[in-house]
Amino acid sequence: MVAAAVLSVVVMLAAAIAVVRARNFLSAVAALSVVSLALSVLFALLKAPDVAMAEAAVGAGLSGVLLALAGYRLKLIGAPAAAHRAPANSAAALWTGVQPQPQQRGGGRFASLLFLAGLAVLLASVLASAPFGAAPMQVGQQIVAAAPGEVGTANIVTAVVLGYRGFDTLGEVTILFVAATAAGLVLGGAGITSGTRIPAMQPAGFILDRASRLLLPILLVLGAYIVLHGHLTPGGGFQGGAILAAAFIVPLLASPSGPFHHRLATFIEGFAGAAFVLIGLASLMDGKAFLTPLFGKGTLGAFISAGSLPLLYVAIGLKVGSELSGLLHRMLSPGSQP
């Protein structure tokens, strides 16, 4: 296990250096996905299967697609005309817009490297002072001891996310909503003001097109399974929601002009957010605190158990899925959305 961890760390750091040093944007994005994959292996080795799944689905999958689409719109990818204009001998030829770097003064580069080395030593010594292998907090152990009896979830991370810290999760969903809305707002008028045309994407070949359509039902079933079993097995609304978003985005990547119901996505997003809050308010009606689990806890490990927590995870899954797919679609199609 230690050997696997050391190997993953080495791969991860090498890929991180590749992210910073890569000559073109697409390789940098691919290297970032490698970092996320190695990171999810490390999470699995640290016995955090929920986090490993989230990192693999969101970090290695969706954010890579997000970056690649943004790179396309920034003309860092697939814009032969732009690459043509840049001097061919410049290493930054594909990072359009960057002037051929004037040789940075040796002093400046040396100072920043010195600063970073010092920071690394400082960070390492501070972080190493936290005891490893013996969880320093008491609250975690108490939650582990109490959660099966109090909340009734087999997955204790779910008990924390939705039960003990449900209000935090509401705040987190709100942050995601605000970020997605702001990104949509900023992108809304893009492509109109300056009159720059994004070159139309090449249609995919037959095999890619059909295969992406075949993937849609499989990914939908997988995503729904992961969302619905969030209280029993690793996974839940966040991981399953990311897979649901991927189910709708993969066919769109194969044929960018394909249909996507933005209005429907927005409706599902609003509906799911309202459902989360309404379930929380329902426990107020019952005379308990906001977001207290309802309906009793059932038998541990049964599909219908843990009260209202699975409903909350369904709401989160729908919200994350519709939000991320809407976000990616907005990156994909410039100026189509007011």
Binding site: L13, S63, I175
Partner: protein
């Protein structure tokens, strides 16, 4: 057969758990520092955003590593098994939400970069700074031809401004 690695003087000092801990901390610090390098040294907005993503991953790794316990199970009960020692579920729950927030932040940063690219035609932060300063200076002077090579002393600039009738002077306003 025993492997020659690790050598005895290392394996005597390092238990398996502490070796794992050192590897995790090296990974977290490495990601943070490499990401910070990209943000400090690079001038391209796209690379700065990639650096931001790396720093977020490093912090997430550290948080999960803090909750790790040697010889403990993942925080999931299987069947009717009696609860044994488990790793701390609290940092895992926090990181779970943090990963999703990171994507939102990444999307917002990319959207802003796209707008910058459309407005200025470049992603170079210094170039953008120069263009903004130039636009501000032109706004200030009512857009006469801007010649940065010609140094104007403050007193001459004030006299020139006073000559222009369209800018009310302070005394007139009071």
């Amino acid at each position: 057969m025993t492997l020659p690695w690790p050598p005895e003087f290392i394996s005597a000092n390092l238990s398996e758990a502490s070796l794992l801990g050192h590897a995790m901390i090296a990974g977290a610090v490495g990601l943070i520092v490499i990401g910070l390098y990209a943000m400090v040294v690079e001038r391209n907005l796209a690379r700065i955003i990639l650096g931001l993503a790396l720093i977020g991953s490093g912090v997430n790794l550290f948080l999960v590593a803090v909750g790790y316990r040697a010889d403990a199970a993942a925080p999931i009960l299987a069947g009717s098994m009696a609860p044994t020692a488990m790793v701390d579920p609290l940092p895992q729950a926090l990181v779970l939400t943090s990963i999703v927030i990171d994507v939102g932040v990444l999307a917002l940063a990319l959207a802003l970069a796209i707008r910058v690219h459309e407005a200025f035609g470049t992603l170079d932060t210094r170039e953008v700074q120069r263009l903004i300063a130039k636009a501000a200076a032109e706004n200030d002077r009512g857009s006469p031809p801007h010649r940065p090579d010609q140094h104007v002393s403050p007193s001459v600039a004030r006299k020139e401004r006073e000559k222009r009738a369209d800018i009310p002077r302070l005394e007139e306003l009071m």
